[in-house]
């Protein structure tokens, strides 16, 4: 068991991070290289300042809850969305248990959050995931576009949180088993992020930024644009 744990938290972890970062870099590079001013009908290079301003404005408005008009149109959805995403990003990055690994391996001091906050956020992620699934089933307009793949991605994203929560709280009889499941499911998520539509972790910034640049260039020089 110990051997297995060492393997999955050693070489396999490195491999997962390698695929994660390498894959995302590939995504960013191919996206940007594929932008075409004439096909997209956006004069990116002629108006870099307007484009950059529009892109940043758009990204910032969509990163802050209720800042964009789109978020305001759907207040409840927006709440669930941010509970889900803040936990998904915040807990893995700032969990004390993860920071220990940084400290032990590289001696890097990493900011951490309290266990209480981590628990609240983790429960938030799980609860939000349930809400998202219910929404997918209950609303006809969401049901019609939902595929099995969408449920799979939710499952993949939430499993590390469920297993991690069980491992930490030792609610389950075998701590090691949940620990191993947690590390493996986390690694699976890392690998799947660049390979599936979860590449939106960078794709959001690229795509929102692109539309923001588009609108910034088209509208910015005339009247005022809006950030949406």
């Amino acid at each position: 068991m110990q051997q297995l744990y060492l393997f999955i938290s050693g070489p396999l972890l490195w491999l997962s991070f390698g695929i994660f970062f390498g894959g995302l870099i590939y995504r960013v590079v191919t996206y940007i290289r594929g932008l075409d001013w004439q096909a997209d009908r956006v004069a990116y290079q002629a108006w870099p300042a307007l484009g950059l301003k529009g892109a940043l404005r758009s990204i910032v408005h969509w990163l802050i809850p209720y800042y964009s008009v789109g978020w305001r149109a759907k207040p409840l959805y927006t709440f669930i969305f941010f509970v889900f995403h803040i936990g998904l990003v915040g807990v893995p990055l700032f969990l004390a248990g993860h920071a220990v690994i940084f400290k032990e391996r590289w001696g890097v001091a990493w900011p951490t959050m309290s266990m209480g906050l981590a628990d609240v956020l983790t429960i938030g992620v799980m609860a939000a995931a349930v809400c998202i699934v219910i929404r997918r089933i209950a609303l006809p307009e969401v049901r019609i576009v939902t595929t099995i793949y969408d449920y799979f991605l939710i499952l993949v994203s939430v499993t590390p949180f469920v297993t991690g929560f069980l491992a930490v709280h030792q609610a389950a009889p075998d701590y090691n088993l949940w620990s191993i499941a947690h590390v493996l499911s986390g690694e699976l998520l890392l690998v799947l992020i660049p390979a599936t539509k979860l590449w939106h972790v960078v794709g959001f910034f690229l795509s929102r930024g692109q539309l923001g640049a588009d609108f910034g260039i088209k509208r910015g020089y005339k009247g005022k644009g809006f950030a949406w």
């Binding site: 009908r41 004069a43 305001r72 759907k74 969408d150 609108f215 260039i217 005339k222």
Partner: protein, 419 residues
């Protein structure tokens, strides 16, 4: 590869072909032929490889199927929230399938694509504004229309419309002679009421060159006269070109990018010939989109701008009111509740929201304008969200155009009071 005589993959470049299409009443034979039209899968595959760039591929791929775009689509709302009208469903089931199968689709699918691309999306781009990723289904439907057109799957009316552009450089069969004669006729008609009114054709170096919609000389010549009256009152040094006066583009609606280029080149050609200081377009939103917003890209202008500053009709009206070239008697301002819908073309895609509101300020008594557009700050949003449920914005209909028309009629109605 079997093709019909009317419904085929060819563009309409001869008058004979155009007449044959026109003679086919309601496109009966045309649509019959379409049901047998073969899909050139190789060509479709090649077109995808050449034109499907990273932005659109990312859009189709990233869509998380959240359906937030549903409520942003007026066609979804107007059709009792029919789930098949959700923009993401519409694009995934049409273009999404073509891309996924890399062009390996049949006649039935292409006809389905045609139906959705033209009757279930107006390319207003509202969904893109409300999508967290900024996935713009309107842009993708524009692209899909191009794919459908290249395969011959285009509505009969638009096959005719784009043929008109290719043959007459106008969306209707109005020749240069017809157009110039209409201008002369309309100028003559006004002499009694507006002595000295002119519609100057091909005047070089004018302050304004006016472009418009072929529908006006064809069916509503008095619209040309009304514009001329306003320019006359405002004392504008203006002109119309004898060639390149048509600003609209059914070719854009049809997805015929070749004809789009022809049409824009004709207008830009008039600019080069007449060297006006500015160009003024008619109120028509899609004409503005075709010639000012997208046109520069069709002809390959890297700055994405027309060769000469090209203003929208509402910009001219606002400017004329601001500078006092046209005056409105404040007593005649509208004293009923008035609202304004933002046009997709020159507001959402061009940013003229403040211009139309400025016109409103001259037309409507203070306190009678009801803003339905979203607030820019959280505070105004909350206060409005509490006071009313109208916190959404935008529409594809163009009430700003109506405002411009109102301006014109208000001016004419109150002309007796002018000093």
């Amino acid at each position: 590869m079997p093709e019909g005589t009317l419904c085929n993959k060819k563009t309409v470049d001869t008058k004979e072909y155009l007449d044959a299409l026109l003679a086919d009443k309601s496109g009966k034979k045309y649509y019959e032929e379409m049901s047998h039209l073969e899909v050139d899968k190789e060509k479709l595959k090649k077109t995808l490889a050449a034109s499907m760039k990273s932005r659109m591929r990312a859009w189709l791929d990233l869509c998380s199927h959240c359906a937030l775009c549903g409520d942003t689509c007026f066609l979804y709302l107007a059709n009792h929230r029919d789930p098949t009208q959700v923009p993401s469903y519409k694009i995934q089931s049409t273009l999404g399938k073509i891309v996924k199968r890399n062009g390996d689709v049949d006649n039935e699918h292409m006809r389905y694509c045609m139906d959705v691309a033209w009757s279930k999306c107006t390319c207003c781009n509202r969904c893109g504004s409300f999508c967290p990723y900024g996935i713009d289904m309107g842009v993708m439907f524009g692209y899909l229309r191009g794919l459908c057109f290249s395969q011959g799957f285009v509505p009969w009316e638009l096959k005719i419309g784009t043929g008109m552009h290719r043959i007459y450089h106008a969306q209707m069969d109005v020749t240069s002679e017809d157009w110039v004669e209409t201008c002369e006729w309309m100028a003559d008609e006004q002499q009694e009421e507006w002595p000295g009114l002119e519609i100057p054709v091909d005047k070089v170096g004018a302050d304004l060159m006016y472009t418009l919609n072929a529908r006006e000389p064809k069916h509503y010549p008095e619209d040309i006269a009304e514009a001329a009256i306003l320019f006359h009152i405002a004392g504008e040094n203006w002109t119309v070109p004898s060639e390149g006066w048509e600003q609209t583009s059914l070719a854009m609606f049809a997805g015929d990018w070749g004809a789009c280029k022809v049409m824009v080149e004709s207008v830009y050609g008039a600019m080069e010939r007449l060297k006006p200081k500015r160009v003024l377009g008619t109120e028509c939103g899609h004409a503005h989109r075709a010639t000012v917003i997208e046109g520069p890209y069709w002809v390959g202008r890297k700055d994405g701008r027309p060769p000469v500053e090209y203003i929208h009709y509402t910009e001219w009206v606002a400017e004329a009111l601001r500078t006092g070239k046209i005056k409105i008697d404040p007593d005649k301002r509208i004293k009923e509740l008035v609202t304004l819908q933002d046009s997709c073309n020159y507001i959402r895609n061009y940013g003229l929201a403040d211009v139309t509101r400025e016109i409103i300020s001259y037309l409507v008594e203070p306190g009678y304008f009801w803003r339905t557009s979203p607030g820019r700050s959280l505070v105004t949003w909350w206060s409005r969200a509490i006071s009313s449920r109208c916190t959404r914005t935008g529409s594809t209909t163009s009430a700003a155009a109506a405002a411009a028309v109102l301006t014109a009629s208000a001016c004419i109605a109150s002309s007796a009071t002018w000093a």
